[in-house]
Symmetry: none
Subunit: 240 residues, 2 copies
């Protein structure tokens, strides 16, 4: 049962109806917008998992809408276009669309592309579990085990740990941690970060005064040091 949230953007009510009934029958949750402005607002508010976006919209064009949304969100966007001109495809993909479907489209083709985009995106989003003899972290299940015992991390603690492990081996700057966990408007106030690091060490390190995992990189930030035989694919991640 997939419950992915899909935002359908098209100015023609009929198209929206068809898409809604088809998609919602497959278990997706649908919201609709009939203009670019509305789409942008809804994308902010309801945070859909995927957007189906008509190229040809009154007012703000589909391309501009796509660009705007892409500027702050990584949500997969599939463009719907009547034309099959090569130019349009290029422009659409260039604006940040993940895929496009030319109208008239077959329902099955559309569904296949939707599934593919969702799969790709969630695959990219998932951070593989970290595992060593002493420490295990499963990000999907949001579980942390220290020497076989489950421990509880507060949300900020968990997020900071996640950011560090995502870049394991490499130092992560204060600024980056603050922005990733507290929000883009943070960057300087390291007091809170220090507190969270402190708590993390108390919970994770054998000897918090001599950390072996969460190391500080003076004047730079912090670094997660994996023990030699830790199993975890090193993902390529970046923000900011």
């Amino acid at each position: 049962m997939s419950t992915a949230n899909i935002l359908v953007v098209d100015d023609e009510p009929q198209i929206r109806r068809v898409l809604r009934s088809t998609l919602s029958f497959r278990g997706y949750v649908i919201s609709e917008a009939s203009s670019g402005e509305e789409a942008i607002e809804l994308a902010r508010k309801s945070k859909p998992d995927l957007i189906l976006l008509d190229l040809n919209l009154p007012g703000i064009s589909g391309i501009e809408t796509c660009r705007e949304i892409r500027s702050w969100s990584a949500v997969p966007i599939i463009m719907l276009t009547v034309r099959s001109a090569e130019r349009d495809k290029v422009v659409a993909l260039d604006a940040g669309a993940d895929d496009y479907v030319t109208k008239p489209f077959g329902i099955e083709e559309l569904l296949a592309r939707v599934r593919a985009s969702l799969r790709r995106h969630s695959a990219a989003e998932a951070l593989p579990p970290f595992q060593s003899r002493y420490l295990e972290v499963d990000f999907e299940e949001r579980r942390v085990m220290v020497s076989g015992e489950a421990i509880h991390l507060a949300p900020k603690e968990f997020e900071v740990l996640k950011q560090l492990i995502a870049q394991q081996g490499k130092p992560v700057t204060h600024r980056r941690l603050l922005q990733a966990v507290w929000g883009p408007e943070y960057g300087e106030e390291t007091e809170n970060l220090r507190v969270v690091i402190n708590q993390l060490r108390k919970k994770i390190e054998k000897d918090p005064s001599q950390p072996k995992y969460i190391l500080t990189e003076p004047w730079v930030g912090y670094r997660f040091e994996p023990p030699k035989a830790a199993t975890s694919k090193t993902p390529t991640r970046d923000e900011t």
Copy 2:
């Protein structure tokens, strides 16, 4: 392969005869209805795995019949239509049909679409029943048993439980639960969710004050924790 149950709805006995012989020869079990009313009643009673529904019925139209059945069942419906107009397709899909075949149709095409619909449906919709010593949930039948006794869940309660079990082991965010059960325009108002969770625990947990199944993940959402020996294929599904 299967002995899938197919309900054939058409007012012309000749069409029904052809369909019955063709399909039953392929191993399907056939029931027939000659009107919308009869179709609705049979759909309720015999719970077919697929419905072939003529668009053009005396009395209640095929479209209305489709809509009615779709309002309480997710059974795949294939519409049979004499016309091939784009409008009809839209209307049919809009009413909740999965597919349509224009008469006169080739037998092979029909069979292909039947197979495709059955396959799709069993792949997409089937959330395997959850079963443990204490708790059993059958999503298709919409039944819940607690230590051998059937209990009743309100629709919202059932939906929330379904969402949680679909992601068993992983925490599900408030936002996702709200959007999946209440609709995409929800996301912040967690009050109702808390009430539903409370009621679910009262109905399901042995000791609602110390839940063992429906756990809260503070600041994140909720999590369904399957007991170690629960039998249920772990569905590979994920969202943000």
